[in-house]
Symmetry: C2
Subunit: 177 residues, 2 copies
């Protein structure tokens, strides 16, 4: 599931520019389970255009770089279909937060507490954003959205429930030394 397929997915829901595609990975409906930046989106769109999977119209705007609007083509629809009907690769998670906490013995307890507080704020904000999507949507999309909500809620609950337990244990250890 490379960035080319991700772009086809976005474009299957309506034509847009590279900039707008990136926004959908930052804020939009894909933001909680996929990532993609300019550095991978623009090359992907170039290759998709060359391969005839998408078409590109240039809206020449006066006094601004031309806006290139991409639309999915039949060949692109087929590629997307094949991809979503294939075998999914394993989820890939890389969490700096968990890595840092794992080595919590190297961090001052007050800093750990601060780290967790910030992480709680991040999950709360994401949760608020996901829950504010009141729009009517197909069952599949709603399922994925609510999956995201459930995961962020679980993270939030765990952090809130175990935060003081961890800090307490770390402080006690410091006293013992």
């Amino acid at each position: 599931m490379d960035v080319k397929i991700l772009c086809l997915g976005v474009l299957s829901r309506g034509e847009c520019s590279g900039y707008e595609i990136r926004k959908q990975f930052e804020d939009g409906p894909f933001s909680h389970f996929q990532e993609a930046g300019f550095g991978s989106i623009y090359p992907a769109l170039k290759k998709l255009t060359e391969g005839g999977l998408v078409t590109c119209r240039e809206h020449s705007q006066d006094s601004r770089p031309d806006k290139k609007v991409y639309a999915i083509a039949a060949k692109g629809r087929q590629s997307l279909f094949d991809a979503v009907n294939g075998e999914p690769g394993a989820d890939k998670l890389r969490s700096d937060f968990m890595f840092m906490l794992f080595f919590g013995d190297l961090i001052a307890p007050a800093d750990i507490d601060h780290l967790i507080a910030k992480r709680i704020a991040i999950h709360s904000a994401t949760l608020a954003r996901l829950e504010s999507c009141g729009a009517v949507m197909p069952p599949s999309e709603r399922f994925v959205l609510k999956f995201g909500v459930a995961m962020h809620r679980a993270a939030l609950r765990y952090l809130e429930d175990h935060r003081h337990e961890l800090i307490g244990a770390l402080l006690q250890k410091d006293v013992a030394e």
Copy 2:
């Protein structure tokens, strides 16, 4: 938090070879929140050795490639300390599974059901593995481990609770058309 830092983290807990480092990302205590393969570990160890952050002893084994055992050096310990006391980057998640489900309209309901069933099996297996770590460990490590357990349990529960709801909605839609 690049692969060099990840390797330092593993080596801070005891010296080992590149192969053994990779195993720790596959099965071991890092597997549920970080990834790294040979293609990034070996170059990282090379750079770490060149920079004096780790040292390397070659155990020449007869009739097998020499086993290179790496150990963290003082300079490496300092780098790890700096990294875990810095600002954490945002979690990076890429989920083929959720991407495919998002486009569930392109998949036969029976296949979606199968997809979810397999995903439930994966979460169950991961959960069993994480929960079987009965060893005594520092509070920080236990916190991270239990965080992983909580997340996989939440995923499992969501999938089990909403699976039939989704399939039902998709089948009803097919009938309507």
